[in-house]
């Protein structure tokens, strides 16, 4: 990564651009998105989106390299100093999330081209790319900003565009799924601004670093307590924390395949990051996380979510919805790591952000490719799909093994990290819960594998793989699932730095 940063500096004009990278990361996709409307042509708008999002990915890599080399980056928008101006701050934690979001966004695009041509009517395809870029902008904005209210604005940019993306699904149930997500998402975001407003009442500031120093003086007041509760519940809705997850399964199940891939691997991750930021940076000095017992509540909700999500997934006959419930379960692991509130636990959460994005992206891509070829994702229609689409099914198998947490896949790395973090605390029952919930994952993955490999394909079914544009991205993600599963050191080291960036600023924060 640092070598990548050095490479960037050797490019022409790099020195002039380099200080402005934090804002360019967001401004480029934001300003370039409406151009899709002028282009109109499906293929042209696809090429345009690809160019812009790969640039965003490049910038994210450079930023991560810079952060790892030289630490915190602070960018003051319009040169207005904080706390009056809006500030962008990038440390290891958000640099990692930036890379995850842009990487998934970039790698989904070639996949999206083929899949969208089949699933969305041609006159509306350019709108898909417009919304895709706006959604990416919102997610990147949430990740970069160090201003509590600015975070709300970006949250709504990403949410509104994702409602539209979900409603583009072919089934009419995509509309009701999108509507329900709109109601829940708006409630969540409004809860968040109620909390921000209460913090502003007590401190007169919206800057996160400023709030961090100002909040401890007033942390005994009921207003700040209420603010904390509102913010946690509001963001909990966005990240689909059990029991606030009810919008998620249908939204993922009925969205177009490419949208399921993108949203499942990024949107909840960014919300998890936002909650981490609020809990450990904004409220980091108040100690409210421990004294109000929210850490214990998160641990319990995380564990219940792990089991409930996996349990319900077992009974699904629609494989996309099965994967969606599996996401509820996987979010449980992230919430659990957050509740442990140690550097080890947060490392587990952050490494799982990356690992889950990779494996769930691969799984949704595989099932989307199946939908592209046979036009169904129902379990009974997948009989013998292992023989008809061997590569796609192999990708699903790898992703499924990773969801279970088999060694040599990324799922193992994050679960192992979480088990260790729990044992550091002496919470052996948490470690046991992680292992048992993995057993449930075996059941739902096995249901698909059994149908795919052991049942005979229907009469007259021919062997036909998905097109190259879909195969290559999913094979890359499956490869990443195995690669980072064998070499977990790189991701764990970066996630460790990210965890330290979040928790290191907390006085008396547990190492």
């Amino acid at each position: 990564m640092t070598a990548f940063y050095a490479f960037f500096l050797s490019l022409p004009y790099a020195a002039a651009i380099e200080p402005h990278l934090p804002v360019l990361q967001i401004v480029i996709p934001l300003l370039c998105a409406p151009i899709c409307v002028l282009l109109r042509h499906p293929r042209l708008s696809w090429m345009w989106a690809t160019a812009i999002i790969w640039i965003a990915f490049f910038i994210a890599l450079v930023l991560l390299g810079k952060v790892l080399a030289s630490g915190l980056i602070i960018y003051e928008i319009g040169n207005w100093p904080a706390p009056w101006g809006i500030e962008y701050r990038i440390d290891a934690a958000n640099a990692v999330v930036l890379v995850i979001v842009t990487a998934i966004g970039a790698i989904t695009l070639p996949y999206a081209k083929t899949s969208v041509e089949k699933e969305i009517p041609e006159p509306r395809i350019y709108l898909f790319y417009l919304m895709y870029m706006l959604c990416l902008t919102g997610l990147l904005g949430i990740t970069t900003t160090a201003d509590a209210f600015n975070l709300f604005v970006f949250l709504e940019i990403s949410s509104l565009s994702s409602y539209v993306l979900i409603s583009l699904g072919g089934n009419r149930r995509a509309l009701t799924a999108s509507y329900r997500y709109l109601i829940m998402g708006t409630l969540g975001a409004t809860f968040y601004i109620i909390g921000v407003g209460m913090m502003y009442m007590m401190t007169g500031s919206l800057n996160m670093a400023d709030l961090q120093t100002l909040l401890p003086a007033v942390d005994h007041t009921r207003t700040v307590l209420a603010a904390f509760a509102f913010v946690v519940v509001g963001l909990g809705l966005k990240l689909a924390m059990f029991p606030l997850h009810t919008w998620l399964p249908n939204a993922y199940a009925f969205a177009p395949s490419a949208v399921s891939v993108f949203i499942a691997s990024t949107a909840t991750k960014v919300a998890v990051y936002a909650l981490l930021r609020v809990v450990f940076t904004v409220f980091g000095h108040t100690g409210l996380f421990e004294t109000t017992g929210i850490d214990l509540i998160l641990i319990i909700l995380g564990i219940v979510g792990m089991f409930a999500g996996a349990f319900v997934a077992i009974f699904q006959t629609d494989v996309k919805r099965m994967l969606a419930y599996s996401s509820v379960s996987q979010v449980g692991y992230m919430v659990l790591g957050m509740g442990l509130a140690t550097a080890a636990g947060l490392t587990g959460t952050i490494v799982h952000l990356f690992n889950h994005a990779v494996m769930k992206g691969a799984a949704f891509m595989a099932i989307g490719a199946v939908f592209y070829v046979i036009g169904s994702v129902k379990l009974q229609d997948l009989a013998g799909i292992g023989k008809r689409m061997p590569v796609t099914t192999a990708v699903f198998l790898v992703a499924g093994l990773s969801l279970i947490g088999t060694p040599l896949t990324v799922g193992f790395i994050s679960k192992w990290q979480l088990v260790q973090a729990a044992l550091d605390h002496g919470f052996w029952w948490i470690a046991a819960a992680i292992l048992f919930s993995s057993l449930l994952a075996i059941v739902y993955v096995w249901r698909v594998v059994e149908v795919a490999y052991l049942k005979a394909p229907p009469e007259g079914a021919v062997r036909r793989e998905a097109p190259m544009f879909m195969l290559v991205p999913m094979v890359i993600l499956a490869g990443a699932t195995v690669w980072f599963g064998i070499d977990g050191d790189t991701t764990l080291r970066i996630a460790g730095e990210a965890a330290n960036a979040l928790i290191g600023s907390v006085p008396g924060g547990k190492p």
Binding site: F149, F152, V153, E156, L160, Y163, V164, S167, R172, R173, L175, T176, S178, Y179, L182, I183, T186, L187, A189, T190, I193, I194, G197, Y200, M201
Partner: protein
């Protein structure tokens, strides 16, 4: 006439004690926050309780408007005027929450527009905008 007024005196006393409770002895101006909470809960209740999809959006709007009011109220400085730069004005409301809430209003308008657009599409696809009927259709499909 006085007789009628006297008859209502206990009710008026009750109102006065209610006001005193709402406003609080030392901190005038809490009444506004009570209104905010009342509106907020009304909107929230409509979102949860109503099956009609348009009414849900209306409830969502009431909920959001209560938050707008909340921000406007917190900006009020007692005795202050509108935050306009002019001769002789030294005490004025905090303009920052006003600006913040302008942004939130825009977001609210966008959300309402998108929500209503979705309702139109749902009406075309399901021929109803009652949530319970839609759920019944969907359960039928799942079976």
């Amino acid at each position: 006439m006085q007789g009628i007024v006297d008859a209502f005196q206990p009710l008026y006393d009750l109102w006065l004690s209610f006001e005193a409770f709402m406003v609080g002895p030392a901190s005038p101006g809490l009444l506004g926050y009570w209104i905010v909470i009342g509106l907020m809960m009304t909107g929230f209740y409509i979102v949860i309780a109503h099956d009609n999809l348009v009414k849900k959006i209306v409830g969502l709007n009431v909920f959001q408007v209560s938050v707008f009011l909340f921000y406007i109220l917190m900006a009020k400085v007692s005795g202050g005027t509108a935050p306009i730069l002019a001769e002789g004005i030294s005490v004025y409301s905090n303009p920052l929450p006003h600006v913040l809430i302008l942004t939130a209003i825009v977001v609210g308008v966008a959300t309402t527009a998108l929500g209503l657009a979705l309702v139109v599409r749902i009406r075309n696809a399901y021929n109803t905008i009652e949530d319970d009927e839609i759920l019944a259709v969907e359960e039928e499909e799942d079976r």
